[in-house]
């Protein structure tokens, strides 16, 4: 006992709280209780935020704290600099402005969408020090370990004077961001569309919120999950038919997540037509971890879907979801509730299939949406699109996939998640989807990234669907087989034309590769009359006029 003092440690244990108190005191002049006028927000931020802070400027692939983002971009970079931005979505031009101006220096994020090219440029110009590109779950998890925000700038539909927040259907990332910040002595500022006497429902309790500002205009939400059925092509319909006939049906996939592309929108739209004719209603696609895709409306209305839990909302779907509480998760106030962290967990552990698109697939089945000049981010796909080794509940689909992967009966049965990449062999501007090597490997080299950004690792992928057919990678026994299976559905890309035709035919005989005709599908039957709705207006009709499409989709 001589080396250590016997009493409590003499160090201060509440430096974070003290720092918080000091910041609040400095900011008090710009607020009345929790309320801040929107004109004072830049000053407030200069008083609250300290150089080097970790800041979460909330915004994901959907809602954006756009007003707060613009104000943060206006702070004096002499006063506030070198911030470490830890947020899921880097989507607004203002997010990049922070780095351009030197207000922010380091970045950890998940998704960039429209700013992918700008991030790549900023990285090359050394304006950004990149920590990592995460999956959502991963970044949220790090909020509680080593990336806890000092300041969170969040966004809600309305607040009361106590700071209780109502996010409504757009709850999204907010609960997890605020929980991590507030309970670790950070500061939470919310922009809201309006101040009310009583919020319809408390999504975040007021004692976790320090300041509330009514923004001059409503926060921005990107209708990222709206796909106009009019733009779905015959080829996409063909791939959708293949997925249903060749995967959903044989595995009996009931619990699933869909990506946001047109191929999966096509699947949603042919459930009530093509899949109905196959007699699959009730046997497939009943439970979704999925944003409220407008293209799912016809399937819901025709009784295909039992329930849907969502990461976030979708513009224009509020009234529809309110009127369908049997399907969607809704609060006591009637409006839908979402939560990105919960839904990502659900997609990882409680679904049997993920199906989504990608830009590039290599010969091992690794996929990436990164190209030489775009840091696209991942969002949730790597979580959805991976086989969770911590899963311990069985289902028919999962066990069947496990049996196929094992090859022969084993004493210890294991399951496998179905991870399906649904692509067309060529993308925009005739760029091949199948490549010898992913662009992201070159990108990682040129930017000196420790980890080449791969969206879904090949060993997690169970199937690849293209217009040429389906490759079942679970049934491949050697890397060489796997390569030929991939080449065998790669169409007329260089990768596809370099196939070993005999090997491919052997794989086809073993049903490792299945062509449309092997599944009884004539590509000439893949036409738009199969779509339950062929336009946004028809989606509106299906919804009984409850769906309120965004203006940019209202072509009438």
């Amino acid at each position: 006992m001589n080396a250590r003092s016997s009493g409590p440690s003499q160090r201060a244990w509440d430096t974070a709280r003290q720092s918080r108190e000091q910041r609040l005191a400095a900011a008090a002049r710009y607020a009345r209780d929790k309320l801040v006028f929107h004109e004072d927000v830049t000053k407030l931020l200069e008083a609250l935020v300290r150089s080097g802070d970790r800041v979460c400027l909330e915004g994901d692939n959907q809602k954006q704290a756009d007003f707060l983002a613009a104000r943060l971009a206006e702070v004096d970079p002499v006063v506030v600099k070198d911030l470490h931005i830890v947020q899921s979505g880097v989507v607004l031009a203002e997010h990049l402005d922070l780095f351009e101006a030197g207000i922010a220096k380091r970045l950890d994020f998940s998704y960039s969408g429209p700013q992918g090219a700008a991030i790549a440029r900023a990285l090359k110009a050394s304006k950004i020090e990149l920590g990592a590109v995460h999956t959502y779950l991963e970044l949220f998890s790090r909020y509680f370990v080593d990336l806890t925000p000092h300041v969170a700038l969040t966004v809600a539909r309305c607040a009361d004077r106590e700071g209780n927040l109502y996010m409504g259907p757009n709850t999204e990332d907010s609960p997890v961001v605020i929980e991590a910040t507030a309970f670790k002595q950070g500061i939470v500022i919310a922009q809201v569309n309006e101040l009310v006497d009583k919020v319809p429902r408390v999504d975040v309790p007021g004692d976790r919120v320090d300041f509330v500002v009514v923004a001059p205009s409503n926060f921005y939400v990107e209708p990222l999950f709206t796909r106009d059925p009019a733009q779905i092509t015959e080829t996409q319909i063909l791939t959708a038919m293949l997925a249903i006939k060749g995967i959903y049906e044989p595995y009996g996939v009931k619990r699933l997540n869909h990506g946001i592309g047109f191929n999966t929108a096509a699947i949603e739209l042919i459930l009530p037509t093509y899949a109905e004719r196959l007699g699959l209603k009730g046997r497939i696609a009943t439970h979704f971890a999925l944003n409220p895709h407008p293209t799912l409306i016809p399937a819901i209305e025709s009784g295909w879907v039992e329930q849907v839990y969502s990461f976030g909302s979708e513009v224009g779907m509020d009234d529809y979801m309110r009127a369908r509480p049997d399907i969607f998760f809704t609060g006591r106030d009637g409006s839908m509730a979402s939560n990105r962290m919960y839904c990502q967990s659900a997609g990882l552990y409680a679904t049997d299939l993920f199906i989504g698109s990608t830009l590039q697939i290599d010969l091992a089945g690794n996929s990436s949406t990164f190209t030489k000049d775009r840091i696209a981010g991942f969002g949730g796909a790597p979580n959805m699109g991976s086989d969770p080794r911590g899963r311990r509940h069985a289902s028919d689909a999962w066990l069947k996939a496990g049996r196929e992967a094992a090859g022969e009966p084993t004493r210890l049965p294991r399951g496998r998640k179905l991870v399906v990449q649904i692509v067309e062999t060529f993308g925009e501007k005739l760029s091949p989807t199948f490549v010898e090597g992913l662009d992201s490997i070159e990108l990682a080299k040129s930017l000196d990234l420790a980890l080449p950004p791969v969206m879904i690792y090949g060993d997690d992928v169970s199937h690849i669907v293209t217009e040429e057919g389906i490759a079942n990678l679970l049934l491949c026994r050697t890397p060489a087989e796997r390569e030929q299976a991939i080449r065998g559905v790669a169409g007329y890309t260089d990768v596809g034309r370099a196939r070993d035709a005999r090997a491919v035919e052997e794989l086809r005989a073993r049903k490792v590769i299945q062509r449309p005709e092997d599944l009884g599908i004539n590509p000439l039957d893949a036409n738009r009359s199969l779509l339950a709705a062929r336009s946004v207006k028809e989606l509106l009709r299906w919804s009984g006029n409850l769906y309120d499409p965004p203006r940019k989709f209202r072509n009438w």
Partner: protein, 309 residues
């Protein structure tokens, strides 16, 4: 010439169909005969110098057929090819058709123009512009000779620029909800006058200003069709035989109609205000309502029945 192999019901979307699909279902089954068909390869010789592909019909299909047994001449523009534009060849094909009807009373006395066009093809701007002028004159001359010229507007490119003027030169216009008419396209106005003047990506605004329902309500079109070949067929049949003569009285009436419109609606800033001024209580609901309900609503709108043109 056979039609495409794709199944295409009379209920398929007119908006999304190709010009050939529209013709096949608009006319009596199997009745269409094409003049200067693709096998004659009457293509644009000019596009290659812009490194652009030509089309075997130059995006203009002309011919004859029957509509419920009545012989008609038809022309259909392919809006997906170069925006359905008027150019040297495409313009001359239409001109030849209309002049033939004008000059030969033994040819069908009705011409249906299935317009789907952004206007003049810039790569052949002078030839295209002049072709539009020639077509407008030929339409007037054909009408004066007793030919009914009916424009059908409901394609992806709408009827803009020269096509907008041609539509308004016809005896009558049938439009669908997705159909649009105008002169300068929203993108061009936005480019020249700024996004504040016209945000071309705001489709609700674009359709409010140029779309079929607005046009039908203000009398910019004489009949409203649902977005199907069957409905266009029905609306066209109802108009055939009712064409106004091309004479002073008609144009006097059109002058009064157009002056009256400016008087009534000239102060409106938005389409919704215009609809309100016309007595539509809830413009948003009227935009979303089913076609038959909208048709019933139009029947009560003053001026929408004035078809002087």
């Amino acid at each position: 010439m056979s039609e495409t192999g794709r199944p295409f019901g009379a209920s398929a979307s007119w908006f999304l169909s190709t010009a050939r699909e529209r013709l096949a279902k608009l006319l009596d089954a199997g009745s269409f005969t094409e003049f200067v068909p693709p096998s004659e390869r009457a293509q644009s010789p000019h596009l290659a110098s812009f490194d652009l592909p030509a089309a075997f019909d130059d995006g203009m299909i002309v011919g004859c057929g029957r509509l419920d047994g009545n012989s008609v001449l038809v022309a259909a523009q392919e809006g997906q090819f170069m925006g359905g534009t008027f150019a040297e060849v495409s313009g001359a094909k239409l001109l030849g058709l209309i002049r033939a009807a004008r000059d030969d009373e033994k040819l069908p006395r009705s011409i249906l123009l299935l317009l789907d066009s952004g206007g003049v093809r810039l790569q052949e701007a002078n030839a295209g512009e002049l072709a539009v002028a020639e077509v407008m004159r030929a339409i007037v001359e054909a009408r004066a000779a007793g030919v009914a010229v009916i424009a059908l507007v409901g394609g992806r490119a709408g009827a803009f620029g020269g096509a907008g003027l041609i539509a308004a030169t016809c005896s009558a216009i049938v439009i669908s909800e997705q159909g649009r008419t105008g002169v300068t396209g929203p993108e061009v106005i936005e480019t020249n006058k700024g996004v504040e003047e016209f945000d071309s990506r705001d489709k609700a605004l674009v359709w409010g200003v140029t779309g079929g329902r607005t046009r039908r309500l203000i009398g910019g079109a004489d009949a409203y069709a649902e977005d199907t070949a069957a409905s266009f067929r029905e609306a066209t049949l109802a108009l055939m035989g009712k064409a106004r003569p091309f004479d002073l009285a008609t144009l006097r009436a059109e002058q009064a109609r157009l002056a009256g419109r400016v008087g009534r609606l000239g102060g409106c800033d938005r389409a919704a205000a215009m609809w309100k001024a016309l007595g539509v209580a809830d413009p948003r609901a009227a935009g979303d309502m089913d076609d038959p309900v909208f048709v019933a609503l139009v029947a009560d709108v003053k001026g929408a029945g004035d078809d002087a043109r």
